[in-house]
């Protein structure tokens, strides 16, 4: 991530080309892909053993999220009231700048010098780590994957597996440099030792930090709680040991009841990693209780808009149901050809192709809604029935409506539209065009260089049309 959570999504083509040309990256991604797909398939198949159907569960989960999104204002007010009643403070942030201001403010009031962080995509949206460092507060990412990308000075390339693009050798180089030890030759047998090394370094950070920053997988309206799901246990550390806990989360993350949460927990881990349940699921409510010797003395929720409120009631409201499981990217051929960094902002894959334009400006991410093969794998696996390809398609329509497409494309489509409304002329032009294309073909019957789309014909040959046009054939058949 660049400073301030700035999007690089307008450079998608250049970034995609660079990433696609990285042979090592492609090998790493191609190795990971079947693992993600296979684990989810196994996890979903396991539902049947308990007599649960994926379809019914998915509809129930989508309905829970629909109920919230359809009355989001009401649910936000209820959550705020109930969270305050437990002793937590509730703040609101319009954008990344306001998140940064709130967090720095809280840090200053509590004399914070080090903040340990459990994964929070909102903090990535805000570019919070840079702001903390600038203010003299050390931010330490504690999810192992996030820690690795933080050491590398990079952004996560996957929301569930942030360092999926890193090889063991790259991780070894980062650890040797950060932990002040000589570089060692590493094989996969050494992965437990490397995880152990990170555990020991990060344990000292957990014990010495003054502030814990986390996201929330869900906010539970009924109890005013944050629900946090992790496998490593870093979420528990961050929310148990420091004396201040700040939860930064989007306004759309609410679920009404504990029962609703239980339903969603049958699909979230299965969709993300294929697990029946994540190792640690914590419901965090208020602050440390009377007589408690541990737990935060101060809990602050920062409820963030940053583009979300504008989606309420819009053509894109479906996207507010997203529970950030990552299944869409795990099943996306485009994601696995390019890796997450090509997308240029916090959210990669189909999720990012919809969220990035909506949250950072449609005109700032023109190529992302086109980064799709239309295969609809993302739509099929989504646990809350978000029609991702349809949303990308709608974004393309908005680009056309707002005249954001390139001039040549607009002129071309305009000319075609003019022509298509004049059938006689259209038939004549098509007949001539077909003849022209046949004339362009070389002896082998192929067009090697096509002047109107040189980029397209650079990598492949065009086969010219053969025989009469469709309308000619149609007319001839009618006569028979």
């Amino acid at each position: 991530m660049s400073a301030g959570g700035q999007s690089q999504a307008m450079f998608f083509r250049a970034r995609a080309a660079r990433q696609a040309g990285d042979v090592g990256l492609r090998r790493t991604l191609q190795k990971a892909r079947p693992l993600f797909v296979g684990k989810r398939a196994k996890g979903i198949a396991g539902l049947a053993a308990d007599g649960l159907g994926f379809g019914a569960l998915r509809t129930a989960c989508a309905d829970i999220r629909r109920r919230v999104v359809d009355d989001l204002d009401v649910w936000l007010e209820i959550f705020e009231e109930r969270a305050r009643a437990t002793g937590a403070e509730v703040l609101w942030a319009r954008d990344g700048a306001e998140i940064r201001r709130h967090v720095l403010d809280i840090a200053a009031r509590h004399g914070v010098t080090k903040a340990v962080k459990s994964k929070s995509m909102l903090s990535e949206e805000a570019g919070l780590n840079e702001a903390l460092a600038d203010a003299g507060i050390r931010p330490v990412e504690t999810d192992l994957g996030e820690y690795i990308v933080q050491l590398a000075g990079e952004a996560p390339s996957h929301i569930i597996a942030p360092a999926v693009h890193k090889t063991i050798h790259e991780v070894e180089a980062l650890f040797a440099a950060e932990h002040g030890r000589p570089l060692q030759a590493r094989s996969s047998a050494d992965i437990p030792a490397m995880a152990r090394e990170a555990r020991e370094v990060l344990r000292q950070h957990f014990l010495s930090a003054d502030m814990g920053i986390s996201g929330a997988n869900f906010l539970i309206a009924e109890t005013g709680s944050a629900a946090l799901v992790t496998n490593e246990g870093n979420g528990r550390m961050v929310t148990t040991l420091p004396s201040v806990h700040v939860v930064i989360t989007g306004i759309e993350k609410i679920v009404p009841t504990l029962e609703d949460f239980a339903s969603l927990m049958r699909l979230l881990p299965r969709s993300a990693t294929g697990q029946t349940i994540s190792n640690y699921v914590s419901l965090l409510t208020g602050t440390r209780g009377a007589g408690d010797g541990e737990g935060p003395e101060k809990t602050v929720f920062i409820l963030v808009d940053n583009g979300r409120a504008a989606l309420a009631g819009s053509d894109f409201a479906d996207m507010l149901r997203c529970i950030r499981c990552g299944a869409c990217m795990n099943h996306c051929p485009v994601y696995f050809s390019l890796g997450g960094h090509a997308y240029g902002w916090v959210y990669p894959g189909p999720m990012g192709s919809v969220l990035t334009p909506l949250y950072t400006g449609i005109e700032n991410a023109l190529d992302l809604p086109h980064a799709s093969t239309g295969c609809n794998q993302c739509g099929v696996v989504c646990p809350v029935e978000i029609p991702l390809p349809a949303l990308m398609h709608r974004l393309r329509e908005v680009q056309v409506e707002r005249r954001l497409r390139p001039l040549a494309e607009r002129l071309g489509l305009g000319a075609w539209g003019w022509l298509a409304r004049r059938p006689t002329l259209y038939r004549l032009v098509v007949r001539l065009a077909a003849r022209y294309l046949r004339w362009l073909a070389d002896d082998s019957g192929r067009i090697r260089v096509f002047g109107l789309a040189p980029g397209w014909s650079a990598g492949r040959d065009l086969v010219p049309p053969s025989g009469p046009t469709f309308l000619e054939r149609y007319a001839a058949r009618k006569k028979d």
Binding site: R67, D73, I78, N231, L258, T285, D292, A309, G313
Partner: protein
């Protein structure tokens, strides 16, 4: 205008619905009478299901007939693992006869140097092999978190079928009150962040051992 009012205003304009009071009443009604989603059919005996799931999550399980037998069972397990008999424990299991079994159990919050933490549990979920631990003065969350080894004592009658059943128990036994942390623990801590290779013991315990008390099948002692 405050950020709060501006954000809520944007949401309201987008939704374009009036009748805030009516919508609020509907939401409150939903909260007053929570509805369960599709429920799994957890067939067979709950404890057996819990054990099978816990073991599939790489927890280990032993069973004893009575609480008084827990310390000897834990001592034997610790010795077999080559682990120290100095433990930190939560108060809910602090009264068990630990010293008679050769275990020195200190009842307090855990510190970094503690190697074994022993806890009770509020209840356990058969569906997923999950322990539910509530934080509190008697049951500090650090005991199940900081030590490398977590030993949990689970009364057989506290094994429920689903997460919904566990929440129902919480509602009836502790109405209107959730402690700071309700921790659902399902096996040892793990990470797959280096080349998607699963490693146990990322930040939390690398071993979870569960002792089930009561309801032990004949001959399983």
């Amino acid at each position: 205008m405050s950020a709060r009012d501006e954000i809520l205003g944007r949401v309201r304009r987008g939704l374009g619905k009036g009748d805030a009071a009516g919508r609020r009443a509907k939401a409150e009604a939903l909260l007053a009478a929570p509805v369960r989603g599709p429920q799994p059919a957890i067939g067979g005996e709950l404890v057996a299901r819990f054990v099978a799931r816990a073991e599939s999550l790489t927890s280990t399980v032993s069973r004893v007939a009575a609480a008084s037998e827990v310390p000897a069972s834990v001592a034997a397990w610790l010795a077999a693992q080559g682990l120290d008999s100095y433990c930190v424990a939560t108060a809910d299991v602090g009264d068990l006869p630990w010293s008679a079994a050769g275990i020195a159990a200190a009842v307090r919050s855990a510190q970094d140097a503690d190697m074994v933490g022993i806890t009770g549990c509020y209840c356990a979920i058969a569906e997923t092999g999950t322990l539910i631990l509530l934080s509190g003065p008697e049951t500090p969350a650090s005991v199940s978190l900081l030590p490398e080894t977590h030993v949990a004592v689970v009364p057989a009658e506290r094994v429920v079928a689903t997460m919904e059943d566990a929440f129902a128990l919480l509602r009836s036994e502790r109405p209107g009150f959730l402690p700071r942390a309700v921790n659902l623990v399902s096996g040892p801590s793990r990470t797959g962040d280096i080349e998607q290779t699963i490693v146990l013991g990322a930040h939390g315990p690398c071993r979870v051992h569960i002792v089930i008390v009561g309801d032990a099948p004949a001959g399983a002692r």
